[in-house]
């Protein structure tokens, strides 16, 4: 296991957002975190990333080879402030800064790692383009490339398909799956889009203050669980080997 929550109580100051959370994420897993807005997904993510200390219990991360876990983080695109016109190369090389340390500048090896990462996510042709001028899907690939440039053991993505059109969304999800399948990379994906996680992840955590469920996706992503989570009738169906989520009764049926 690389991430372990033991009776973790998470929150800010006196405000407890999630209580008594216990689960593990194994190396090589593809793990999804879903839940309504404000339910605590970001809080859980921050605990994994180490930027939020638990109020109680423990959240431990450990590399499969011992030592600290190397995390490649892909933030939501809209949290990035692109006033300055950084090139794609300049953005991706930021993924190498932790390895470089203070006062050292990127070497040829770092440039090679940037190049490899861009090739991996199939945007090597964009390396000299300005990041702020790219489409949503291209930006997402570049941010994934930056995370890969840090040579991570776990890739954590926060709402990676938010605000994308359908083809871009599927392309990004396929890319993430390829990284997981081919490289054996542990992937943790936070999303509020249920179908994104339903058809890709292996294990799933449903996050809600009073209703926390975790386990294999087919056990957790069920109609009764989702109905309770969203406080409305929800059914989960299989169509052409894909999982689809149907919400509400009579809503949007004309």
């Amino acid at each position: 296991m690389i991430i372990t929550f033991k009776k973790a109580r998470l929150g800010y100051g006196r405000k407890v957002v999630l209580n008594d959370i216990s689960f593990t994420i194994e190396a090589g897993d593809y793990f999804g975190i879903v839940g309504p807005n404000g339910a605590g997904k970001t809080t859980m993510l921050r605990a994994i990333l180490g930027s939020l200390k638990p109020l109680g219990g423990t959240v431990e991360t450990e590399s499969p080879s011992g030592g600290p876990l190397r995390i490649g983080y892909v933030p939501q695109r809209d949290t990035i402030d692109d006033v300055l016109p950084y090139t794609v190369d300049e953005v991706v090389v930021m993924g190498r800064f932790r390895r470089l340390g203070l006062l050292r500048h990127p070497s040829h090896a770092d440039r090679d790692a940037v190049s490899r990462s861009l090739t991996h996510v199939k945007v090597e042709n964009l390396h000299a383009h300005t990041f702020k001028d790219l489409s949503g899907g291209q930006k997402q690939r570049v941010l994934i490339a930056r995370a890969l440039a840090s040579e991570p053991e776990a890739l954590i993505l926060d709402e990676p398909t938010n605000g994308m059109d359908l083809p871009s969304r599927l392309a990004i999800l396929d890319l993430i799956e390829d990284l997981h399948e081919e490289g054996g990379l542990t992937v943790i994906m936070v999303s509020h889009l249920l179908e994104d996680v339903a058809n890709y992840v292996r294990h799933l955590a449903i996050v809600e203050r009073e209703f926390f469920q975790v386990g294999p996706v087919e056990d957790v992503l069920t109609g009764p669980n989702l109905s309770r989570l969203y406080n409305m009738p929800v059914t989960v169906e299989r169509v052409h080997d894909r999982t689809i989520i149907l919400a509400g009764e009579g809503h949007g049926t004309r």
């Binding site: 990333l49 016109p85 954590i156």
Partner: protein
């Protein structure tokens, strides 16, 4: 006066006005790129006002310290207090800055009222930042302060860039965004405090904003933005001082006016490029 005569008068009679204003303009134009990129322009405005308050306070009998010390002390204390207040979510950042801005201006007026009347003209000159009376001592003090603050800015360029671009991911990479933020604002505070003492708040705030904005309009690369912004900082003071002598205008507003003209040209260039 003939054009050549004006230039030689400036170089002969007011050399440190020219060198000092170029020094401040370059420092503020460089720093301003980060200020604009971080969307904290109002923070720059607040620090210049706090710095002016610090200057004014040195005229009070019970705070009779050198002007630069007063300006620096007030500015750095303000940076530390603001960095604490910024962490709260109850009050928006802009509101905190607005509060400090109003407080600084009001306090300055009150301080001026209580300062000895005989020094009123000197206070007025100092607060307005009379470029023509920059002394060699003040210039070299400034040059030293800028050298000291420029060094970390250059050495930690990649860290400041990362935090400016994507603080959240930088945090996951082990950078304490808060520590780097405070370091940046303290460095900015030192530059603003010294610069305000030397050339006044209008000049400082003008060069924190106008050259970076002009550079952002025309440059396509980050390094080019810094280069163009600094270049505007180098060019505006000699042109502005020359025009101030030619038309008998005050020097600071003339120099800032030239910077505005550069920004206008940059805007037109951008329009032409778009078409």
């Amino acid at each position: 006066m003939e054009p050549g005569e004006i230039a030689s008068t400036i170089l002969r009679e007011f050399p440190y006005a020219l060198y000092g204003s170029i020094l401040v303009a370059v420092a503020c134009s460089y720093l301003g790129v980060y200020i604009v990129a971080r969307r904290v322009v109002f923070f720059g405005a607040v620090l210049t006002q706090v710095s002016v308050l610090g200057l004014a306070a040195t005229f009070l009998p019970f705070f009779a310290v050198p002007h630069t010390v007063g300006s620096l002390a007030f500015t750095l204390i303000c940076v530390v207090i603001l960095s604490q207040l910024f962490t709260g979510k109850k009050i928006p950042r802009d509101a905190v800055l607005g509060f400090v801005f109003v407080l600084s201006v009001a306090a300055r007026i009150l301080v001026m009222q209580k300062a000895p009347k005989v020094e009123a003209a000197e206070i007025e000159n100092l607060l307005r930042g009379d470029i023509l009376f920059v002394t060699p001592d003040l210039f070299w003090l400034m040059a030293g302060a800028f050298a000291v603050t420029a060094l970390p800015n250059i050495l930690f360029y990649k860290e400041f860039s990362f935090i400016t671009f994507d603080a959240e991911t930088a945090r996951t990479q082990g950078y304490s965004a808060r520590t780097w933020d405070i370091a940046f604002y303290l460095l900015a505070g030192v530059i603003i405090a010294f610069a305000t003492h030397m050339v006044g708040d209008l000049f400082v705030f003008g060069f924190l904003v106008i050259p970076p904005v002009a550079a952002l309009l025309v440059a396509k690369r980050v390094r080019t933005i810094f280069i163009i912004s600094v270049l505007i900082g180098v060019l505006c003071p000699p042109v502005g001082l020359y025009l101030a002598f030619l038309w008998d205008f005050p020097s600071s507003p003339s120099i800032v006016g030239v910077a505005v003209v550069f920004a206008g040209i940059a805007y037109l260039l951008r329009l032409v490029r778009k078409q």
